[in-house]
Symmetry: C2
Subunit: 703 residues, 2 copies
Amino acid sequence: MSDSKKFNAHHAPVGAFASFTLGHPGASGGFGLELGRPAKQHVYVGVESATEAGRFEALPFFEEARNHQQDFVIEGQGDKIVRAPLVPVEWDQIERRFGACVDEWSWGDACFTLYSPTWSIPEPGREGSGALATALIPAVFAEFTVDNRKGARARRMFFGFQPDNERLHIRESWEMTSERIAGLCCGGDYGVATDAPGATTAIHFDVETILGEPDRERFHFGNGTTGILDAVVPAGEILTIPLVLGFHRAGVVTSGFQCSYLYSTFYKDLEEVLRAGLQHFPRYREAAIAQDAAWRANELSDCQQFHLFHAIRSYYGSTQMLEHQGKPLWVVNEGEYRMMNTLDLTVDQLFLEMRQNPWTTRSVLDFAAEHYSYHDQVAFPENAEEQWPGGVSFCHDMGVGNCFSKPGYSSYEIPGLKGCFSYMTYEQLLNWICCASVYVQASGDIEWRQGRLGLFRECLASLLQRDHPDPAKRDGVMSLDSSRTRGGSEITTYDSLDASLGQARRNTYLAVKSWASCIALEKIFRDALETPLADACRDQARRVAATLISGVTSDGTIPAILEPGCESRILPIVEGLAYPLHCGCAEALDPEGEFGPLLEALRNHVLQVIDDGRCLFPDGAWRLSSTSTNSWLSKIYLSQHVCRHILGIRGPEVAAVADDAHRDWLLQPDNAFYAWGDQFYSGVMKGSKYYPRGVTSVLWLDE
Amino acid sequence: MSDSKKFNAHHAPVGAFASFTLGHPGASGGFGLELGRPAKQHVYVGVESATEAGRFEALPFFEEARNHQQDFVIEGQGDKIVRAPLVPVEWDQIERRFGACVDEWSWGDACFTLYSPTWSIPEPGREGSGALATALIPAVFAEFTVDNRKGARARRMFFGFQPDNERLHIRESWEMTSERIAGLCCGGDYGVATDAPGATTAIHFDVETILGEPDRERFHFGNGTTGILDAVVPAGEILTIPLVLGFHRAGVVTSGFQCSYLYSTFYKDLEEVLRAGLQHFPRYREAAIAQDAAWRANELSDCQQFHLFHAIRSYYGSTQMLEHQGKPLWVVNEGEYRMMNTLDLTVDQLFLEMRQNPWTTRSVLDFAAEHYSYHDQVAFPENAEEQWPGGVSFCHDMGVGNCFSKPGYSSYEIPGLKGCFSYMTYEQLLNWICCASVYVQASGDIEWRQGRLGLFRECLASLLQRDHPDPAKRDGVMSLDSSRTRGGSEITTYDSLDASLGQARRNTYLAVKSWASCIALEKIFRDALETPLADACRDQARRVAATLISGVTSDGTIPAILEPGCESRILPIVEGLAYPLHCGCAEALDPEGEFGPLLEALRNHVLQVIDDGRCLFPDGAWRLSSTSTNSWLSKIYLSQHVCRHILGIRGPEVAAVADDAHRDWLLQPDNAFYAWGDQFYSGVMKGSKYYPRGVTSVLWLDE
C-alpha cells in the first residue's frame, strides 16, 4: 500500500474558493486563492531542536528555497549572514491523523493541527446574519503545540511561508500590532495571524537567516520573501499557538456577471478576517472537531472514510459563495479547470449539498434557468440537414476562472465536434431535471416547484423530442443531436473516454439517467396534479426500460451504445438508479415493482462485467468502460453505491478491494500532489486534478 | 552598434502601474499590471499573407506556444484540427520608429502603432474632473493598418495575445458586443477592444487553430488560452483598426495604508476604460502625436533622444496615482523591486515631475513627512556607544509591492549592516531637502513652504548634527552614523557599489549634495525672512566647499571618501551641482562667485578622471567609480548634464561617444528584454531592471 501520510489535502473555508493545501512533501502546498492547483509554497512549521540549541526542525513541507539574497551583488566585504541549520523532520517520525475537518501531524514533542469546519450555510435573509458570517469566514484554523515540559531550555517555535508569487508581497501586518496580534500577510489576499502572547513576526529572504539572527528586532525586512510568526516555549512548559489562516478578495471578483464574495459584506479586508477568526477561535476549533466527529460517525471502513474526507475537502476548496445584484449565487469551480457550475458536476455534488445546504443548489438551478439555458433544433445523425424542433436545455457551465460566459453559452462547448468540447445538450437536460427534482424532495420547497412548473414541462417536451419527433417511434433512448453541434455529435460528461461513454446518442448510461429523469418528473407532475404529464413521464420511463431490456445480449450484459457492433460494456450504466430514492420515488426501485426487470437486467450486467473482469483493472480498481483505461473516481464511488445499495450486490469487489486500489491511486506520489482527483489512466492522474466531484462518496453514508 | 529595433519598451498609461510592453523578440511583452518585469505574453499582430492565402505573418513577438490542446486526451478518432501556418515577420522587413509617446512598426503593407500619451495630471480638486479623467485613463492606444489597395483578395488581420497567467482567464467581453465593440479581456484586469466595423473576437487554445478555422462563429471557446480580435480588409482597400489596450484594478489595492487608484473613481471597471478609450480615441491619438513631437522638439542627438524617450516610458510604467482617504498620493514603484516612493529615486525623477506635475512630488514629500520620517541619535564610528542627538530624517521608501511598510520604517533598511540594505539616513535627509526646495521653486507654492518651515528647520539642525555635534568642529561633511544602524554604517543610494559610493560617512558625493542642500535651505530661509538660519546654511555650505577643496590630491582629483588611503575616484561627486539652478540659486554656480573655487576643483576632478580613463570603460561608457565595474545609467545621465551644463566640459567623451556606448548597453539582447534599466556591470544589466530612474535625462533638455 502507498504511504498514507504523504498527500496534499485541501484545508478550505466554505465558499471562498480558497485552500490552505498541505501534506505532500516539499514546497507543494500553502495558501491558494482561486487556484486550480496547490500553491507550491514553502511552508515552515518548525521548532528548535530539543537536543541541539540553534538547530531547527520543521515539517517536510519546504525545499531548499531560492536565495534571493544572491540577487543583490554587494562589492567589498559584505555583511556576514548567519543562517541557522534547518532540517525537515523525517517522515517516519511523523504521525498524521486525517479527518474531514481536522488534519493533524505530530512528531517528537510537537503537534500541528489544521481545522477546517464544513458549516451548513444559512440562506441569506432567512435568519440573522451572524450564523452566515460564521459559516462564510474565509479562513481555516490551526494550532501548533510544542510540549517542552521535559525541556531544559527555551525553544523557538515558528510557522512561516515563502509564497511563490511575484505580484503579491509578503508583509507584516503592522496595523494589527497595537492589538497584540502578530500577522503575516501576502498583499491583501491571504495571511496568517496569532494572538498568542509574545508571538512576533519577522521577514527576510529566507527562514534560515531569520532563525540565525539572535536580535529579534532586526528582520522586519519588507523586501524579504519569507516570513515567520514565532514564539518561545519556555523550559518546562507546553505552549499552544492558535493560528488563523485567512483569505480575502474584496469588491467585484467576476466578469460578465459582476459578483462579489458574500463574505466581503461581513469582512471588509483580510485583517478583519484574521481578527474575527482569532476572536472566535474556540468556536471554530470546537465546530471543526464536532463536525469531524460527525463525519466519522458511520459504519464506513477506514479506507472509505479516507475517500470521503479527502473528497469533502477538495469540494469545499472549489466552492464560491457569491453575491450577484443582492442575490446569493453558489458556484463550484471545476478543480484544475475552474469552470463554473459545470452542470454535470452539480448533479454529482448534489448529494452533499442536500445534506449541507439545499438552497445553494436551487441558486445554481435558477441561475442556469435564467441565464444559461437555450432552445435548439434536433436532427438525426444520418441527416443533419433535416431539423426538428428540439426544446430547452442547459449549458455545460457558466464560465471559467471567474469569467461568466455569454448567457446561453458555456465556456466549454464548441460546435462542429464529435468528441471532447462538443455539446452535452441531452445530458445537461437530464442533469437539470435530476437536480431540480432532488432539490424539491430534499427541501420540500413546493413554492419553487410550482414556480418552475413551466420549465419542468418544457424539460419533458425537450426530453421526448430528443428520443424521436414522432411519438409513435419513441423508444426512450436519445437518437437526435442538438443543432448546437452544427453537424457534430453530442457527447456526455465522460468527454475524454471513447465512444462507450463519450457518445451521447443511444448511450445506455444516459438511457438509465433519462429513465430516472422520467421517474422524477412523474412525481413532480403528479404532486402538482398534472396527471396527464405524469402519465406521459411514466410511459416514457417504461419505453426506456423496455429498450434497455431488449438490448441485453447473450452474455447477460447491455452494450454501452445501443448500436450494432458495440463491444463496450460500462459500469456507469447504473448511475441513474441513484436518483429515485432522492426524488421520493422509492417505488421505482422495488425489485417486485414495475421496473423490477430493468433492475434485474442491470444487476446481471454488473455482476457479469465484474465477474469476467472486463470492468476491473488487475488491482481490483474499477474500470468504468471495458474499452478504455480512463476511469473516474467520482463516478466509481457513485456506481459502487448503486451496486451495493440499490442492486444489493455484495462482496469485496464492490467494496474493500476496490476501495483499497482506489486509495492507492490517490496516494501514488505524483497523484498525491494534486489532492483529490478524478480522471485516472490506469491509475495515473491525468485530468480533473484538484477536483470537487468526489463527494458522490457521501452516498455511502446512506447505505 | 547593436540592432536598434529589438528592445522592449514600456507603453504605459500615466499613474496606473501598468504597461503594455513590446519590442523584444519572442514572447517577451504584453499586458503587465503591477509587474516588476515584462509580462512575457505571446502577442500577435498579424495579417494574412499578400501572396499566399491561408498563410499568416505576424510581428515576431510570439514563440511556439504551449499547446494546451494536448492536455485533453481524447480517445478514439478525435476531431480534426486545422492549424493555419503562422510565421514571424523577418526582422529585416521591419522598420521601427520610436518616440516618447509613439512607437511604430511597419512592414510590407502593414503598420502597427502604439500611442501612449504623457499627460500632465491636473491636481484633483483644483479644476474640473474631466481633464483628470482624461489624463488618468488606464489605457494605451494602438492603430493597426493594412494597406490592401494592391491586393486581389480580402485578407484577415488580427491582434491577439496569449497571457501566461493561470489565475486570470482570457474572455470575450460579451457585455460590449451589443454596443458593437469587440473586446478581449483577461479577467477584469486588462484587455483590448475595438469598435472597427466588422471586427470580431475568437478564443481557442492557440492562434493557429483560430486562423485555420473558416467558420468565424465556431471559436468562442471560453476554455481557450489565446484570443484574437480580427477584421477583414477587402481587396483594393486600406483598413485601420483602432485598439484600446486597457488595465483596471478596482477598490483597495494597497495594504497598510489602504489606497485605491484615483482612476477608479472615473472608470468603475475595465469595460468602462475600454469604452471611454474608444469614445475619445482621436483625442488620445492626437495628444500622443503632439506630445511625442513636443518631446522631440529639442537639439538632442538621435542617440540622446533614444535614451530620453526610453527612460520616460519606463518611468510612467512604474507610476501610480493613488487616493488615500480622499487625498491623492503619487507613488513611483521602483521597477523590478517595486519599492514605493524610494526617496533616492524621487530626487532623481524630480526634474521630470517639475515639468509635468510638480504637485505630485509635493504629495510624496508630505506623505514622507507625515508617515515616513523619524528621529534618531548619531554616533561616531569609533564609538558607537556614545550617542549624540541626531534629528529628523526620512525613510528610504514607503513600502514594496503595494504594501505600505510600518510608519517610520522603510521596507529596505535593516539595522546592524555596513553594506546593502543598511540605513540611508543622511542621504535621505538631503534628498528630502533637495526635492522640497526644487518643488517650492518650480511651483511657487509659498503657502506650502511656510507650512513646512518647521520641518525645514529640523532638517537643517539634523544635517548639522550629522557633521559634528560640536559646532566648532564641523567641516561640512558627514561624520556620524544614525543610531538606526545599531552599530552598522550608513550607506548611500549606490548600495551595491564598493565603499567609493556605498559608504555615506565622509563621502564626497554626499558632501556636494549636502552643499547643494545648504544652498537650497539658505534660499528657503532667506525668502522666509529667517535670516540667521539662512546665514547658518551659507556657513555650512562654505565649510563643505573648503573641506572638499582641501581634499584635492596632487593629481587634481578628490577622493571618493575623505579618509586616509582612499584610492577611489568617482564621477557622481558632481551630482549635487544639478540642484542650485532648480532651487533659484544660480548665483552659487557662478564661476566668479563665492563657490567658484569649488566648481573649479570639481571641474578639474572630472577632466582628470575622464582624461586618464579611470572613470571610463574601454568603449567610452562612463564608469561611476574608478574602483567598481558597476555603473548606473540614471546617474551617468545626471552627471553628464552637470559636466556639460554646469561645469562647461565639452567634447565627445561627455556626449556622443558615451551616449552611443550607453545605448549599446541598453540594446544588448539580454539587457533589451528589460526595457530601460539602471545598473550595469561592465555593460551587463544585473540590477535595477525595468526601472523608472532614467528620467534624469530630461535635464539634457535644459542644456
